[in-house]
């Protein structure tokens, strides 16, 4: 049996998503429309003896698309072959903007889909000083008009029961201007099976994805012949429709004095102030990151401790052997690496969706757009970029709030350049190794270098955004028009759903890839070809007959790692990393830190036979590691392995390279394709290699 599809259509900020959450409860999932970075929200609801599929279409003001999101809406409604083509459209309006929603409703009806009309946030009708004549409105629209309030659930059941409603024939209220009638008649011949309005839509749009090549050519010819542009037709329709609806509504919706924006205007006086607005915003941003870090730190420590205890327990419960190692050091370690991110993601999204829900996010765009636009980014990019200082994984997810798909993609591509928390231990170790502990203009040189690396991250993000904005193609012109919605108390149900969506999306979506990579890296580090790996103990004792008992284990671990697949890989890539000033031991560090940058320190400790549990915050252990690393000689150059040139080169490599499989996994999930994920990895690692190479060659 064919499933019944109900599509929710409406302007942004009408509470469409709240309504969707109310209807589908948690029977919903968020995915991507195939091949593109537009979020697809789909859910189900059982009622009237059947199961309906409910689709929350992206918010739009018109069926003429100006962004990828809006193109989804048009394609879903205008193309009968589209898998999302609905059996019934529910046009969602809110009391203050009924006119705009009616325009959208008319377009939907005239293009040929049945629709009912819902006025959401109905509780605001009184406070907004409105009176609506419902029977008149129903007669005018030629369909059923329902009222709901998604915040308290009012009217939701009636709405669900009306999903079988199919309004009768619709008489178009839109007459095209006489000057276009000949062109329209010609277009109609091209699409004999479509409604007249659909032909008009085809004529008025420059990029229609689902018509044949010949039809597209013919449309271009017709536009040329009559010397008209799509934009001109769209404008003519908008003006005619808006004027007509405004006049018709005068006898249906009565507006008395309307007060709702006056309190919003008062708040905006402060929040959008040319000076204080920025002060407040940055204070808020500071607060958010403080909260993300301070609130999540104890939870993360708790997870870390208990997970470690759990791993130990599992290890002791299982018979020792490769299976036990695979489970504890491969799979469980991988899962631990996923779970550890959950507190940060949940807290960040709690705060971000709080900003969205109250309406503050639009103000952020207003304040920041000017500063990010020159780099091809959007005002909203500021949240992902700043979050990137903590961790790129939740930061990339935060880019979902950017509507323009090109700006969203670029934001995601450049966010990992920001200096994340995982780079810090590497920076600390390397700076301590190669940067002299001097002062420069009264400041500690080591601290200055660390600051410089953070600034470098920001510069790299902005410069690459600028370059990418010249390369990434878009069929939609860049422009910005957005509503500053009136301030509201957040709908906690939406906040909760949002946090759950993001967190579970990370755990189950990106988690799979992280887990797979963790297991692969474990296998590479735990197995090796030949007897040098399997009989490491014999080789080590033969080479160092007098070695002390406690050092033997660490020597063996080091020897094993050297002769594991990972070790051979490290030696294999030595010719590639040698021009950057690295030896094969650093090569191993590079490969294994691909799991996560912080692994670098642990791997280096194993390579230098210190046991992997080096605590970088313990000064004595740090000194031991630093001492070992300092005395290390690069066997190719005969110089210390960590001299100034190779150290700076390594620092720069870590500053730019995509050394994080969690980021790769989340990019794959968020862009829905490997294409951009691979491009990003190649771009970042390529830039890192180039810069490290140039700097090393100049400094050595």
């Amino acid at each position: 049996m064919k499933k019944t599809i109900i599509a929710l259509l409406g302007n942004p900020n009408v509470g469409k998503t709240s309504l969707f959450n109310r209807i589908t409860k948690l029977n919903q999932h968020v995915g991507n429309y195939p091949g593109i970075t537009v979020e697809k929200r789909e859910g189900t609801v059982k009622a009237n003896g059947k199961t309906y599929t409910v689709i929350d279409l992206p918010g739009t003001y018109t069926l003429f698309p100006t962004s990828l999101d809006e193109e989804i809406v048009f394609n879903s409604l205008a193309d009968k072959q589209n898998p999302s083509y609905p059996d019934l459209v529910v046009v969602v309006a809110e009391p203050n903007n009924i006119k705009r929603s009616i325009v959208l409703y008319q377009q939907a009806r005239e293009i040929g889909v049945p629709a009912i009309f819902v006025i959401n946030m109905i509780d605001e009708v009184k406070s907004k000083g409105l009176e609506i004549d419902y029977p008149q409105l129903e007669a005018y629209l030629g369909t059923k008009v329902l009222t709901t309030d998604a915040r308290n659930g009012k009217g939701i059941q009636t709405l669900i029961q009306s999903f079988d409603e199919r309004p009768g024939h619709y008489f178009s209220r839109f007459e095209t201007e006489a000057t276009y009638s000949e062109a329209l008649a010609e277009t109609k011949k091209l699409f004999p099976l479509q409604t007249e309005y659909q032909s008009w839509q085809f004529l008025a749009q420059d990029h229609i994805s689902f018509v044949s090549h010949e039809q597209r050519q013919r449309l271009i010819e017709i536009r040329k012949k009559y010397n008209m542009t799509g934009a001109e037709l769209q404008k003519s329709e908008s003006i005619k429709r808006n004027a007509a609806v405004a006049a018709d509504l005068e006898s249906i919706v009565f507006a008395k004095e309307n007060k709702h924006v006056s309190s919003t205007n008062k708040i905006d006086k402060a929040l959008l102030h040319p000076f204080w607005g920025y002060v407040i915003f940055f204070a808020l941003l500071f607060l958010i990151f403080q909260l993300v870090f301070t609130l999540s730190a104890p939870i993360m420590d708790w997870i870390d401790e208990n997970f470690a205890a759990f791993v130990d327990f599992t290890a002791s419960a299982l018979p020792a052997g490769p299976i036990s190692d695979l489970i504890t050091q491969g799979i469980l370690a991988g899962i631990g690496g996923i779970v550890i991110f959950v507190p940060q993601i949940a807290i960040l999204f709690l705060l971000v969706s709080f900003m969205e829900e109250t309406g503050y996010m639009s103000r952020v765009v207003f304040l920041m757009d000017r500063w990010l636009r020159p780099y091809g980014l959007n005002g909203k990019s500021v949240i992902p970029l700043m979050s990137g200082v903590g961790c790129a994984v939740p930061a990339i997810m935060a880019a979902r709030n950017i509507e323009n798909s090109k700006e969203r993609l670029i934001t995601m591509l450049v966010t990992p350049f920001m200096t994340c928390a995982a780079r810090l231990p590497i920076y600390v170790v390397l700076i301590a190794l190669v940067i002299p502990n001097d002062t420069f203009l009264g400041f500690g040189l080591q601290g200055l270098v660390l600051n410089l690396l953070y600034i470098l991250g920001v510069v790299a993000a902005l410069v690459s955004a600028w370059v990418l904005s010249k390369i990434v193609k878009t069929t939609h012109k860049s422009f910005l028009i957005f509503e500053l919605p009136s301030y509201k108390t957040p709908d906690w149900r939406n906040v909760g759903t949002n946090v759950w969506d993001k967190t579970s999306g990370f755990v189950f979506g990106a988690g799979k890839i992280i887990l797979a990579m963790a297991v692969i890296l474990w296998v590479l580090g735990s197995f090796g070809p030949g007897d040098r790996f399997s009989e490491a103990e014999r080789y080590v004792t033969e080479a160092n007959p007098g070695v002390a008992e406690e050092e033997l284990g660490e020597e063996i671990a080091s020897f094993k790692l050297e002769h594991s697949f990972l070790g051979y890989l490290g030696m294999g890539i030595e010719p590639i990393v040698a021009p950057l000033g690295y030896d094969w031991k650093m090569g191993i560090g590079l490969i294994s830190s691909f799991a996560a940058r912080e692994v670098f320190v642990g791997t280096m400790a194993t390579v230098y036979s210190l046991g992997e549990d080096v605590d970088i915050e313990d000064d004595q252990q740090k000194e031991t590691l630093l001492g070992k690393m300092k005395s290390e000689i690069n066997r190719n150059t005969g110089q210390p392995a960590y001299n100034l040139a190779s150290g700076v080169s390594l620092l720069l490599f870590y500053a730019f390279a995509m050394q994080c499989m969690s980021t790769i996994a989340i990019m794959k999930r968020e862009t829905g394709s490997w294409k951009w994920t691979v491009i990003q990895t190649l771009m970042m690692t390529g830039v890192a290699y180039l810069i490290a190479f140039v700097v090393y060659q100049l400094m050595k």
């Binding site: 003001y61 018109t62 404008k235 003006i239 924006v261 765009v365």
Partner: protein
């Protein structure tokens, strides 16, 4: 006296009537969001250094924001 000039010339607090929009430069979304000829607008906010402009559409009672680069294609009269 009525004089038509582009919307970015207005200062915060000014009220003006939209007389025309350049449809070659502006997508239809601008019309759909309520920037239509005849509509009264009040400039509420201007972000510093030629940042976005915040408008109160008096006829429909909405607050919207646009960039300066698009405001130059909207013509108003005082």
């Amino acid at each position: 006296m009525q004089k038509s000039f582009s919307l970015d010339g207005l200062n915060v607090g000014d009220v003006a009537k939209i007389s025309d929009l350049n449809s070659m430069e502006l997508p239809s979304k601008f019309f759909e969001m309520g920037l239509l000829p005849g509509c009264m607008v009040e400039v509420m906010h201007k972000a510093p250094f030629n940042g976005p402009i915040g408008l109160h559409l008096l006829s429909t009672n909405n607050l919207i924001a646009i960039r300066k680069s698009e405001a130059v294609h909207i013509f108003v009269e005082k």
